[in-house]
């Protein structure tokens, strides 16, 4: 029997139960979002005991050595004493400097950090509505171009955090953020390699950052962006992207709609299917996939089978935990 000590209490861990499930079931206020080891919202630290390696996947080395782990994918075989990370990984306050709708369901949020935040375009931060309620949002801004952090937040029906951002958050207000995390970003080197970016909905956020970062760093190979939505109203930043395509002969933008007849200038079909039709061979290409988890997982597999090397596929599935 493995026990989890948290605060003053000790809980026996059920069979196949994660540390997160065990604590949440007992009413311990541990924040979480994706429940699948991606978003890092459920980050905890083992003050005693050693967390299993898999529960540290994706964490920075500096955190690993301090025994930080992701509670939602932590199935320890020895007793652990766990704590929330506030002392060491205190979140950073950031002031909202802009809130502008990008379309009917996606909001541009600009944040000014109170302390400088080192990040790469395409990484994500965790934004907290309160200390136990946080969600991940990808960074659309590019540090060397934009003074503030930019997010694209899609409103989900009854979404606790996205709904709050759309309805209650105001410019001038200060929120807590933590991060950055994630390895979905442009790595300089191999400047002539072809880059394919595929995203759905607000999955454009990291891609918009990665794209501008790559262009800014002088990437010379072809860069192709496929952005998809069900209908035209779901697309956004189309003007900005068309301008970029005009300015950079190696960049090509393909907006896609899957649920209605495409108007001139739009492609008809799902973004990843159109991408695979137009780019048959993924050998030696770098690929970025962001947005709907099913799209990301299907496209990842297809690109791999079409010759992409695993190390050249970067993906951020926007996992949403639909459980109450």
């Amino acid at each position: 029997m493995t026990n989890i000590k948290y605060g003053r209490d000790t809980y026996p861990l059920g069979k196949d139960q994660s540390v997160l499930d065990c604590l949440v079931e007992r009413g311990a206020p541990v924040p979480f979002s994706c429940r699948s080891g991606v978003c890092q919202t459920c980050l905890m630290r083992a003050v005693r005991g050693v967390p299993p390696e898999v529960s540290q996947r994706g964490l920075k080395d500096s955190l690993k050595v301090q025994n930080y782990f992701l509670a939602c994918v932590c199935h320890p075989t020895e007793d652990l004493e766990a704590a929330l990370p506030h002392e060491v990984l205190s979140s950073v306050p950031a002031t909202v400097t802009a809130l502008e709708p990008l379309n009917g369901e996606i909001m541009h949020v600009a944040l000014e950090c109170h302390a400088p935040l080192e990040y790469r375009a395409g990484q994500f931060i965790n934004l907290f509505r309160d200390p136990t309620l946080g969600r991940s949002y990808s960074l659309a801004s590019v540090p060397q171009q934009d003074a503030h952090l930019h997010l694209h937040v899609r409103r989900l029906p009854q979404g606790k955090v996205s709904g709050w951002i759309h309805e209650e958050l105001r410019t001038g207000q200060t929120v807590e953020i933590r991060g950055p995390s994630g390895d979905c970003f442009y790595v300089p080197g191999r400047p002539a390699q072809e880059i394919v970016l595929i995203g759905t909905g607000s999955g454009l956020a990291p891609l918009y950052g990665i794209l501008r970062d790559a262009l800014d760093r002088g990437h010379s190979g072809p860069i192709r962006l496929f952005h998809g939505s069900r209908n035209r109203a779901g697309l956004y930043l189309t003007g900005e992207l068309r301008d970029l395509a005009r300015e950079h002969s190696n960049f090509d933008y393909v907006p896609c709609v899957s649920g209605e007849e495409p108007a001139p200038g739009l492609a008809g079909g799902r973004a990843h299917e159109i991408a695979f039709r137009e780019v048959a061979d993924f050998k030696d290409k770098r690929l970025f996939l962001c947005g709907h988890p099913e799209m990301v997982s299907a496209a990842k597999k297809r690109a791999f089978l079409a010759g992409a090397a695993m190390k050249d596929i970067y993906a951020d599935p926007f996992n949403v935990n639909a459980a109450p």
């Binding site: 997982s297 990842k300 597999k301 791999f304 089978l305 010759g307 090397a309 695993m310």
Partner: protein
Amino acid sequence: MTEKKLADWWTESHASLYAKLGGEAAVNAAVDIFYRKVLADPRINRFFEGVDMEKQAAKQKAFLTMAFGGPHNYTGMDMRRGHAHLVQQGLNDSHFDAVMEHLGATMKELNVPDELIAQAAAIAESTRNDVLGR
């Protein structure tokens, strides 16, 4: 050979196979090619439906490390446990053969000499009964 000597011979010969093939670098070069063949094979790819690609790739890497005679943590018991649910779904010799075929083809593609391919195949073959739960 005594039990002890046999064990030493096994460790030495296999450690050297791993070294001869190029150690971890060889495994890294092989894993994408091998896994792509496995995923694309209609005889066996249903066993990989819906699994997380990254996690599965890590397993493929562990398998190749073992086949190349490198350091690994598998025991017969783990092999049994790890494949029991697949055996329930009908995993049998024909599927094991398909995997062996891809292992050989992968190494051929990487221009590994036949004699080393045979050695790696023998190591992989030695897990057959455990994998198939016999």
